[in-house]
Amino acid sequence: MRNTIMKPGVSRELKNYTSFGQSVRNSLTMAYRGLLKLRRTPEQLFDVTFQPIIFTLMFTYIFGGAISGDVQSYLPVIIPGILVQTVITTSIVTGVQLREDMDKGVFDRFKSLPIARIAPLAGALLADTVRYTIATVLTFAMGYIMGYRPEGGLDAVAIAAVLVIVCSWSISWIFAFFGVIARTASSVQGISMIVLFPLTFLSNAFVPVDTMPGWLQWFVNMNPISHLVTAVRDLADSGTVGWDLAISLAGAAAIVAIFAPITVRAYMRRT
């Protein structure tokens, strides 16, 4: 037993606030924790590995002929659509895992440490961008195997991928909020699916909007998911950046601005 370790700090600097720099550092450390956990339990990546492969195959061959005449001409429609749908669905898991994680004793320690309150949440969400990246790459890869050749080129596709990952990260704050307020992990899953299912299907992700009844078109055109899908299509098909991209990013920023504070507050209240 060396005494140096047990010696308590006799005089130390104390402050009752957390600086922005410290918040970022704490969040990055928590993200590192999330990555270590992913490495220890790679089975957590099961869904992001298989969902893109199965969904892309299934939807393309089921709807391809009916909607676009043949599978080849459906690919530019479906790949951006399925990409957005898959990656955003993946972000539900963030909320579910946060709920499971928060029930463990280690969150008590995080709360008792002099760290930024947002760090345990922001870190977990940040680490999950790895999941979105895997899902994004696999969806594009599946599309490529099936013959999808985006006209916009690799750069534009990469930008589209980053756009989808950023937006999914923002949306994951909504599910993080559910994760913090819900009692059980399965209820998080349930609530999130109910919210997300209409949003992803009542969009232009799978079918052209003009085939829908007028009242539905109104909603579909309003739906932020439609704007994100259109932004990805514009980038992938022609390498162009339009209003849809601006709207998507503004929507993402708005979601974070609303849900990050209320999630942190709910997390602080929950004991």
């Binding site: 308590p8 700090g9 005089s11 606030y17 220890r40 008792s112 760290i115």
Partner: protein
């Protein structure tokens, strides 16, 4: 970064590490903590003793900024636990009832992450983790995931994690619950060493022996309230003096023996006829010599004689009017004796 936000603290003996007054926390209709007052002097071990559900953990959680009290105030080294929570967090280490470490990571990874969160650099975190693991005898298990750790190893890692920042005040919530006797006494040694180097320890326990062994002062808590407070000796003497237990060889002698005891010791005694036992308070040990001579002269042969000091079980029973509930196995071995003393 204004000057008013920063200050230096110097902790000396005689300062209050914890000052809590009128703490109340209700969960729905259940008042888990119902007006708790606690004062803990820096550099001491303070024991909060009580049965399951008495409000020990809720009290600690309020002191450790994990729970906001409904009413009442808590100050840690003079800093308010609600208003200056971030300062308080820099002064405390918390080891929970259930190990607050990350199950899916290794011991080293756990300590490195906590060190990084506390602002240590990459290399320093690694060094600190290594030091603490060595100190707590976990070096060999450092790389294994915690799933394979025994309860004792987990507790030690948990305590190690609480000591990274060398906090002057450490909360230990039932540090030895569920540990085997050998690991328990190791834990006790560690806690004693902590205090020798100047830390203050506030621990909760439902083990009477543990409070007796470790704590300088004890608060007995029951149904959310402090029902007694003082040093171990004070609490014991509040129950009364030691008692003398006699059993006679020949049951027919017992009535004579009782009269002799009451005459010589000048006290009331309690007789258990089936067991042939007499129990009497022993205020003056010197009188026992006379008693034994008198018994010999009366021709009464003794089968057994013992002197029983009051135990903390008796303290608890006397103060609360009921035994330690829910934990019958812990208290039952003392229960018979305690009943006698209570009468």
């Amino acid at each position: 970064m204004g000057v008013e936000h920063k200050e230096k603290i110097r902790i000396t003996d005689g300062d209050w590490a914890v000052e809590a007054s009128g703490l109340v926390k209700a969960f729905g209709a259940n008042r888990a903590v119902d007006g708790v007052n606690l004062n803990v002097r820096a550099g001491t071990i303070y024991g909060v003793l009580g049965p399951n559900g008495a409000g020990k953990t809720t009290t600690i959680r309020m002191l450790a900024t994990l729970l906001r009290p409904d009413t009442g105030t808590a100050r840690i080294f003079g800093h308010d636990a609600v208003k200056e929570s971030q300062i308080v967090r820099q002064l405390i280490g918390v080891t929970g009832q259930y190990a607050s470490v990350d199950e899916s990571l290794s011991a080293t990874e756990n300590l490195i992450i906590f060190s990084r969160l506390l602002g240590l650099g990459r290399a320093e975190s690694r060094r600190k983790a290594g030091e603490l693991l060595e100190e707590f005898g976990l070096t060999e298990a450092a790389r294994r995931p915690l799933k394979d750790f025994s309860g004792g190893m987990r507790r030690r890692l948990d305590l190690a994690a609480s000591l990274i920042a060398q906090p002057p005040l450490i909360f230990l919530d039932e540090p030895t619950t569920g540990l085997d006797p050998r690991t328990r006494s190791q834990m006790w040694d560690t806690i004693r060493r902590l205090v020798k180097t100047g830390s203050t320890v506030l621990l909760t326990t439902q083990y009477l022996e543990e409070a007796d062994q470790l704590a300088d002062r004890i608060a007995v808590i029951d149904r959310g309230q402090v029902v007694a407070e003082g040093t171990v000796d004070e609490l014991k003497s509040s129950v009364g003096t030691s008692s003398l237990h006699l059993s006679v060889q020949n049951p027919q002698d017992i009535e004579t023996a009782r009269q002799t005891v009451e005459r010589m010791l000048k006290v009331q005694s309690i007789v258990s006829y089936e067991a042939g036992k007499i129990t009497a308070p022993m205020a003056n040990a010197d009188l026992v010599t006379d008693l034994l001579i008198a018994l010999r002269e009366a021709g009464i042969r003794l089968a057994e004689m013992s002197v029983q000091k009051p135990t903390l079980d008796e303290v608890f029973l006397t103060i609360t009017g009921h035994g330690v509930k829910d934990e019958g196995s812990l208290a039952s071995y003392e229960y018979g004796k305690a009943e006698v003393a209570k009468v």
